[in-house]
Amino acid sequence: MAIPISYNIRNLKLRKGLTIMTALGIALTVTTVVFLMALLAGLKQAFVSSGDPLNVLVLRKGSTAELSGGFDANLFPTLKNLPGIAKDKNGEPMVSGEWVVVIVLPRRDGTGEVNVTVRGMMEDGLEMRQLPADKPKVNLVEGRWFRSGQREVVVSSSIHRRFANTNVGDTIQFGKGPWQVVGIFDAGGSAYESEVWGDVNQMASDFDRQGAFASAYLRATDAASANALKNAVSDDQRLKLDGMLETDYYAKQTSSGGPIKVVGYMVGFIMGIGSIFAAMNTMYAAVAYRSREIATLRVIGFSKPSILTSFVFESLVLSLLGAMVGIILMLPFNGMSTGTSNAVTFSEVVFALRMTPTVILYAFIFALVMGFFGGLAPAWHAARQNILTALRG
């Protein structure tokens, strides 16, 4: 027969101080781990939600990133005439030749300069990123889009928040002179959230890169033709180009979170062990205070396994309490954005801490594991103690 749950809950309530302190200790461990996991989740989201499965990215063969590409603009018409490309608003194939460069911008808070990605694109590039029409990848939130042939740029909303001189109407300096900021766009936490966009020809001439493109984007009509397009580009021996789905390209870049992951596992592991010992301590104390009570339970007829289960359960409740407090402590930080460098482009990726359901689930599992291991030995001790000695004690 099982010991009622209310027995454990009442016990935890009885020793409020002890319960609160232990739960807080576990909470701090959970907070730290949740923080690191939320960081990783945000980073992952920035990359995974980037790109559209219908966009095919074309790079020079052997090149792994847009920044390290570069192919002759003469190849562009060939790309444009490939089958399966959607039509733009003028009825032409929707294809955009692009240049990606990295520039330094001063942070708004004056804490130094950071590398930021600038993307030069054609009008089709803007159009394909505002697809699908009902749920566009990027939205204009202020001002207007840049016009081709003008020294105009639009900045993402997180760049706008974090960097100086990025209000609509301001000018930023890079390349061969000033560029006017004409709009701010929102890219919903994707990698575009870390970019500044302008006209590709203006940009190429500013960086002396006319006659070539770093990459090209082809918009496929549907998923099947996206795959076909990708293969058509890669298989054409004359082109010496590689085609890939934009989503795959970004998925590969999540590796930028590697160091955070390593530190996260290490910190979680070590702090977890420390918390297990602390929980053990509390549970041993709980058992010691109640040794006569436990013996009485045994006399009444509760079996050893039910006592063991009861105390492990009490420890689990304790750790759950800790997990809840820990997660609540982290809630104010949810959505706080920070930047890290993309190991592929050397430029800053802005991403937000995201307490996704997975993160919260893992936090609970982590806390329960701590509670289980912390409670096991004391519960074992409680179940095995000698009834007579305990009753006399």
Partner: protein
């Protein structure tokens, strides 16, 4: 019985509890030691004496732009500059693009490299062999160990930035005070394979007269190119490295946050234990007082007990942390931690923090204990 033995004996009256508490504190302090060591390596250490004399010049806009090679001669004319060497990031793949096969590759001038990087040691005959083979390369000794390379081995790098696959023969293996994970090869070979980079270099390494001259040289170099089409950004080697650390995000805040959480968690654990153990002894406190111990003496006894436990746990934690750091820095995969060890200052600071935590943790419960009314205390049955 002296006071010290009394304190130690009371600290271990409930062995299991004390050991568990110590383990918990020890693990937290191990983490704290590791975190403080990383902090030190990033923000306090200056590297070898020679490295404090070095600067790196790059294009002001970004590392992805290059500078004309003639800048080398111009930089040499700046007062305080001893030697200059062009270094160009190649960024090729070796074997495949798995992160464990990644290492830094630079195209450079074999005649100049070791004149600027004076703390890199290479046998004279190997250096000469490299200078005479334009398809030769020199590699860091740690890197050579990792890939089991010997002098004379041939390797092929696959360019990702440029369409070039240099085939190199390892002509020399150098040792650096801190592992660099780098390979250097002749820029002439690089220029042949990548014509677009002819007479271009991404960065220049500069050796200054003395560490004191570094800021002056940096300013002078940047001033010199202020009105040229390619402006430069010159900073000390340390600052240049920190730019990469900064790319990981707000590392300072992360480390501080983790350290704060660890210290606070330790404080809770220690306070918890002390509260438990002092409440148990309410009657003993009353006895002590009857014997003539003053409130202050009782307070001191309990605080001392907590400090003893915390310090002992601190020692264990520091040993554990040092061990962890040793493992991390000797793991061939962990380029991040290469060459970082725990130093005495960190150990002493960690121990000091442990003591403070013990002291703070015991203050409130000990104060309550010292305030116990003798008659009430004697009646206390727990």
């Amino acid at each position: 019985m002296t006071l010290t033995t009394f304190v130690t004996k009371s600290a271990f009256r409930n062995k299991r509890r004390t050991v568990l508490t110590m383990m918990s504190i020890a693990f937290s302090l191990a983490l704290l030691t590791v975190m403080m060591t990383i902090w030190r390596a990033f923000y306090i250490d200056n590297g070898s004496e020679q490295s404090t004399q070095r600067l790196i010049t790059r294009h002001r806009v970004s590392l992805t732009f290059s500078l004309p090679i003639y800048y080398e001669q111009k930089i040499k004319t700046v007062p305080g500059v001893v030697e200059v060497v062009p270094t160009q990031w190649f960024g090729g793949k070796y074997i495949d693009d798995k992160p464990e096969h990644f290492f830094a590759q630079f195209a450079t001038d074999p005649q100049e490299l070791f004149k600027v990087y004076t703390d890199f040691k290479i046998p004279a005959d190997q250096l000469e062999a490299w200078q005479h083979d334009r398809a030769g390369a020199v590699v860091d000794s740690e890197l050579a160990k990792k890939f089991h390379w010997k002098v004379g081995d041939r390797i092929t790098l696959m360019g990702t930035i440029w369409d070039a696959n240099p085939e190199l023969t390892i002509r020399g293996i150098y040792t650096a005070p801190q592992p660099t994970q780098s390979l250097y090869f002749d820029r002439k070979y690089f220029e042949e394979s990548v014509p677009i980079m002819k007479d271009q270099s991404g960065t220049f390494g500069i050796l200054a007269d003395s560490a004191a001259d570094v800021p002056k040289v940096a300013a002078a170099v940047d001033d010199m190119f202020h009105n040229s089409p390619q402006q430069t950004k010159t900073e000390s080697e340390k600052a240049f490295g920190l730019d990469f650390v900064a790319m990981l995000g707000n590392v300072k805040a992360f480390i501080l946050g983790i350290c704060g959480a660890v210290v606070f968690a330790t404080l809770l654990v220690a306070a918890n234990t002390m509260a438990m153990s002092i409440r148990e002894r309410t009657r003993e406190v009353a006895v002590l007082k009857t014997l003539g111990f003053t409130r202050k003496a009782v307070l001191t006894l309990f605080v001392g007990e907590a400090v003893v436990v915390a310090i002992l746990a601190g020692v264990a934690g520091i040993v554990l942390g040092t061990g962890l750091m040793y493992l991390a820095s000797h793991n061939p995969q962990a380029g991040f931690f290469q060459g970082i060890g725990v130093n005495w200052a960190t150990k002493i600071l960690a121990l000091f923090l442990a003591g403070i935590v013990g002291c703070l943790a015991a203050l409130v419960p000990s104060y309550h204990a010292s305030q116990v009314d003798i008659v009430e205390g004697l009646r206390y049955i727990g």
